[in-house]
């Protein structure tokens, strides 16, 4: 199946043979095309990245750390971490359950459920935030009911967690569905036959086999969660020191008279996302190796 093929790290196709080299474009045409593609990548992605690094590190590392060493920067990053952690844990638990339901169960409406899972990817983060405000806002029926019981969702942490959960919802499930399908049910049935209960089977048979798939989905969720802006902006109210996450701090700071903190914080987030990308690459390799070993 094409979808399962290794698209992050295609195996080396091998240098084209001498005969092909002549048929598929001249050597010069080839060099020109490679040059054009690499230049486009550099101009579009790398040069802006370098410009940010220059801005953030222009005054030296010490200046960057001084810009980061502000209470509001610190609080914003801590809040981002907490919200991402909460959203990731909830999405992982429910996402694993949902993937198991989608792969292992037959029931009416399953295909529809399968389609609905992807919807958050088609919805603008701003609209996602607006949906939550409409549903849980103080002037909505549900929001009013919750407020009477002392639970504030919108303009507070629960709403921000919900917003982050919404935009990252498909990641874990989407990564696990192909892994579970590939795994099949034989091992689980064997464990069941040997007298293992459902939990026991899940913990000692299913989970170890899908752990790299879970890890990949979790990494994607963390990366997107830390960087989420639009959805969180709408539901947070952006109250400095209370509901200001790292991305909200950056957006505010860049337009202020002291943008150094915003540039430094952007640099930190860019570095974190780069590390997560490297992590994803490593996990992807493990996943593919596992796949190769089983079949």
């Amino acid at each position: 199946m094409a979808a399962d093929s290794d698209w992050t790290n295609p195996p080396a196709a091998g240098p084209p043979s001498a005969g092909e080299a002549e048929t598929i474009g001249s050597a010069w045409g080839r060099r020109l095309l490679i040059g054009a593609v690499l230049s486009w990548f550099a101009i579009l992605i790398l040069v802006p990245g370098a410009a940010l690094a220059r801005q953030a590190l222009g005054g030296g590392l010490a200046a960057m750390f001084a810009a980061l060493n502000q209470p509001e920067v610190y609080r914003a990053f801590i809040l981002s971490l907490w919200i991402t952690a909460a959203a990731t844990i909830l999405n992982t638990i429910f996402g694993v359950a949902l993937a198991l339901v989608l792969v292992r169960q037959r029931f009416w409406g399953r295909a529809l459920l399968d389609g609905v899972v992807d919807m958050p990817f088609a919805i603008s983060p701003i609209i996602a935030g607006l949906m939550l405000v409409v549903l849980y806002g103080p002037d909505s029926a549900l929001g009013g009911w919750l407020e009477d019981r002392g639970i504030q969702v919108v303009y507070a942490a629960p709403g921000m967690v919900l917003a982050t959960m919404f935009v990252t919802l498909p990641f874990v499930t989407r990564e696990l569905v192909p892994v579970l399908r590939e795994l099949g049910e034989e091992y689980e049935q064997a464990a069941h036959t040997l007298g293992a209960g459902r939990w026991r089977t899940f913990w000692s048979v299913t989970l170890p086999s899908i752990r790299w798939g879970v890890a990949y989905g979790v990494t994607l969720t963390i990366a997107r969660g830390l960087g989420e802006f639009g959805a969180v902006l709408v539901v947070s109210g952006n109250i400095i020191g209370r509901t200001q996450t790292a991305t909200l701090y950056i957006a505010d700071g860049v337009e202020s008279f002291h943008p150094e903190g915003a540039y430094a914080a952007s640099m930190v987030l860019a570095a974190v996302s780069f590390c997560l990308l490297v992590g994803m690459d490593l996990i992807r390799r493990r996943l593919d190796r596992g796949k190769g070993g089983q079949s």
Partner: protein
């Protein structure tokens, strides 16, 4: 997204086993996705079709929608060419650093959108060297429409590449070789033999990047500001209307964007199903 092909080992022997699990999955999707979407759509159409149309035809809303679609179209046109070329180079050519570049292609997916915006402002902004040079030449990038297109190109960079790459890898090259043997030049071979097989995957990448562009907010708001009738795209308009208390206007434009994104999603799904049927999948 892969369509559920069904598991060959049907789990009929233990039907009651997964009911808790199923309830958990349905609760999750119901509360997290279906409920918010339903309530939003309901609120958008509740004041009636006339109010809906008036909100769409509001000059500011209409301009925002138009700007969003035009910039997304320009971005897709560029991405279709550069994305296909990049996938081609990564699959077919050997050059130093290919593995590294291939791993870095996904960088725009990992970088937070706000950080993308900050990067572009740092490079092209009025206080930067390049921005000053461009400004003297009369080119305004930041706080203007070119900035929007640059931001969209950045955030959607991987889509076409990642959807064409696997197809190109699996493509049987015998047909290309046959065409070349029959005397077709490399461009003719590409256009007449390779391109038709790549078309569905190019279309998928284009659809995904278009859908993403319709909703993009973080990077665009950073580079474009929110000048009405100039750089206010639809998502920025929605945010502005929420902030200023015109919730119905925000909901209506959201509903339009949502409908377009869903249509694209459904179209891509149909395209994929057609492809699977043709390949005997």
């Amino acid at each position: 997204m892969p369509l559920s092909l069904g598991n060959p080992v049907a789990n009929r022997s233990r039907p009651s086993q997964g009911l808790t699990l199923r309830a958990m999955g349905l609760f999750y999707i119901g509360v997290m996705v279906v409920l918010p979407m339903t309530v939003m759509t309901f609120q958008a159409v509740r004041p009636g079709p006339r109010a809906f149309w008036e909100a769409v035809l509001d000059p500011y809303a209409l301009h925002a929608l138009k700007l969003t679609f035009v910039t997304a179209f320009i971005m897709v046109a560029v991405n279709v060419v550069t994305g296909t070329a990049t996938a081609w180079v990564l699959v077919r050519y050997e050059f130093p650093g290919r593995t590294l570049i291939n791993a870095l292609i996904d960088l725009p997916f990992a970088v937070p959108t706000v950080v993308t915006g900050v990067m572009l402002v740092a490079l092209y902004g009025p206080s930067s060297v390049l921005g000053a040079i461009l400004g003297k030449a009369g080119w305004k990038v930041i706080y203007d429409q070119p900035g929007i297109i640059l931001a969209l190109l950045f955030v959607t960079y991987p889509f076409v590449i990642r959807s064409v790459q696997p197809v190109l890898l699996e493509l049987d090259r015998a047909e290309e070789e046959a065409a070349a043997t029959l005397g077709a030049g490399s461009w003719t071979t590409f256009r007449r033999v390779t391109l038709p097989s790549l078309r569905p995957s190019i279309l998928t990448g284009a659809g995904l990047s278009f859908s993403r562009a319709l909703g993009e907010f973080g990077s665009v708001v950073m580079v474009a500001g929110n000048q009405p009738l100039l750089t206010k795209t639809a998502p920025i308009y929605v945010f502005g209307e929420v902030e200023s208390g015109n919730r119905h206007g925000a909901l209506v434009v959201s509903a339009v964007l949502l409908a377009c994104s869903l249509l694209i999603l459904i179209g891509l799904n149909a395209l994929q199903r057609k492809g699977e049927a043709r390949n005997g999948g």
